[in-house]
Symmetry: C2
Amino acid sequence: MSKRIIVDYTNCMDTTLKLNGISKKKLSDLGSALQQAQKEVNHKKQAGQLGFMELPYKTSEAKDIMKLATRLKGKYDNFVVLGIGGSALGNICLQNSINHLYYNLLPKNKRRGFPRIFVLDNVDADMVKGLMDVIDVKKTLFNVITKSGTTSETMSQYFIFRKELEKRLGQKYRRNIIATTDIDKGYLRELADKERYTTLVVPKNVGGRFSVLSPVGLLSAAFGGIDIEQLLAGARYMDSLCQTNNMSKNPAMIYAALQYLMYKQGKTISVMMPYAQHLKEFADWYAQLWAESLGKAVNNKGKRVNVGPTPVKTLGATDQHSQVQLYMEGPFDKVVTILSVEKLAATLTIPSYNTHFLGGQTMNKLLLTEEKATTMALAQNNRPNLTITLPEINEFNLGQMIYLFELATAYMGELLEINTFDQPGVELGKILTYALMGRPGFEKKRKEIEKQLRKKGKFIV
Amino acid sequence: MSKRIIVDYTNCMDTTLKLNGISKKKLSDLGSALQQAQKEVNHKKQAGQLGFMELPYKTSEAKDIMKLATRLKGKYDNFVVLGIGGSALGNICLQNSINHLYYNLLPKNKRRGFPRIFVLDNVDADMVKGLMDVIDVKKTLFNVITKSGTTSETMSQYFIFRKELEKRLGQKYRRNIIATTDIDKGYLRELADKERYTTLVVPKNVGGRFSVLSPVGLLSAAFGGIDIEQLLAGARYMDSLCQTNNMSKNPAMIYAALQYLMYKQGKTISVMMPYAQHLKEFADWYAQLWAESLGKAVNNKGKRVNVGPTPVKTLGATDQHSQVQLYMEGPFDKVVTILSVEKLAATLTIPSYNTHFLGGQTMNKLLLTEEKATTMALAQNNRPNLTITLPEINEFNLGQMIYLFELATAYMGELLEINTFDQPGVELGKILTYALMGRPGFEKKRKEIEKQLRKKGKFIV
């Protein structure tokens, strides 16, 4: 069994597809642009702008986090992440990928003494109240994560649980909170220092959606018993594979190249379809990374481009019975990335029953066969698809996967000539929220909005 | 508080949007086509082809299912659905919408004595084995659901659990299985009759993705303590609202009209974004309904059209920090449907902390404000969006929602002039799976595939 993940893009090429395939020439013609992209990315890294590329090498920080988790694990029944977006999706992905699929339902001994893990990534009162029904806050460690310290969703959750903890534990409540935020700036940093919480640091040069291998993602992982040092080792291994400027040997380059060429020929929807329940949330993590990094109004020259592929998260074999009809017969606007796992942890044999053809075969073979059948059928219908295969699901391979897609995103951003690392499009919504919620300094905006709302005619059924 | 759900499409119209809006004229010009679509749908209903339109009126069947669940509920700790696609998504949606968001973690008394509910919708050995770790199969009722009785995924799960049950319970194992299938046809029907299981019937004229209000969806709902009679009552109420042929008063017609006009002007991606954790899985249910019904290669005249909007499921406020950057700034290829809930079950006040502006306000207000801010910001960026508001989340309103979208799908299919109710595109994948798994009768196909696989050059990194 290879320790390397493999990218097979045979079903993207015109040697397989009669229509919509890419020629070898077209791909190799993109080589110099990709080498340029790699140079740009490395240049930004040298300039200290791309913190995500440094994270795999912060091994002593990972050791410290492991120690912290080991020391505290027996003291809490639950570990709750208060965070949203980049402060939640990586955490969810790591738990789902590595831990038991019904982890929170296992008794404590089956969790090797580690606490149950919850990620509270919405400001829905039914959800927050619901969580309170199933945890004892006294026995719960809350990890509040926001780099800026101003995220309304996270801070509102924090205020609610802080009060609950204080009510029950008095001044000892501090022990139940760990804050992950900027090293010296922002509201949460001030507050955490004043109230003397244990804190972890989000590096200044790491954005939310690239932060899973920073303390943002690593702390909850460590509390879930995940080997975070192996995660980083896998990311370093992928980094070493991606040093080459030979596109045909560089997994991140080839992924970016294929997605770019497909986008340019109208495949504007990038479907990710893992054939493994353990990778379901990986697709969700990817959806943020891809959408928020690459969906941009203007390019680096200030020209309006309104560019960006739309990621769609889906799941095999499940969504063969939901989305695949559309992928086979609908518009030719998609490229499908299949995530395949050679060997799951469990093996299950389907018992024989009379002469049913499934009897005696493994469920594992059925899943892999369905995957193979789907990729073949897509190809026969001239639907481009590629398969990324993990030998098995473990921390090392997941680290490889994370780093592969982060780097591919950075390359893709260079090809599209946009800023991969900002998110100006969400500012307006924040400003409107502040105005409507009465944040000081937004009074004028509020009056504007109210006037506007009064004016507008309504169309309602 | 109105008992009716409200569709507000102000932000789709050119009176609000400077670009990409629909004019009143364009909308009203579609009126006659929609009336024709309604006639066609009613005609098919009269001909007995559209069973989903009859389901809301099968009240005595619902009563029988309620009785069955009430009689058996104390006997089992767990209720497990073995099903995939249309036999799973509706079940998941109903549980997620109505029941506690951490339902399976609640102690039994907080579940009013009802069993925990699991829906096993994949053939992943880690998942199936994982489920075995957290349930005692002796105390578990399995509901195996497949209309045709040939679904490989479902039957393989069934064979595995049947064997487990037999091992532990001997011949009594029958009591732990309920089969939901065709009334007189198919492998599961034969088997169930032979083995004398309790059975429920999937009506012949109801397809998987339209089956949530049939025994397919109702049995697990009843075992989860959901008031299925109110579900049907809500669906009947929506049916009554949709009797009018006046588009501007018919919620299903207006939804289909807007989606159709948006699709025709290049908004080929239909995003559904509920602002409520309880409606997260509703978006997943919708994604199947919309994709599988409307993604078709040929139209009713046999012409190749490769048509179909791509549904994308997302979640507010969570995905403001993931997808909204793309929706605000990316290509103008989307129409966003916001699902809004006026009043959640819980209310949570954010405690005051120093002078933080969130202090003293409710989390409920924050969520509704973020939703409002998102729709306004989308509109200001000329991104069409509409909002469907439920007064609150309960069975009656969920029944309305389900029926609204089912009927809108049927209308949309008529506008696109395609067959809404078949799924020919998944056949090829099934045939390839059968061939590769060695199902008798597919030997020739297998040889073909093997030859093909040998021939093909590989592109691999």
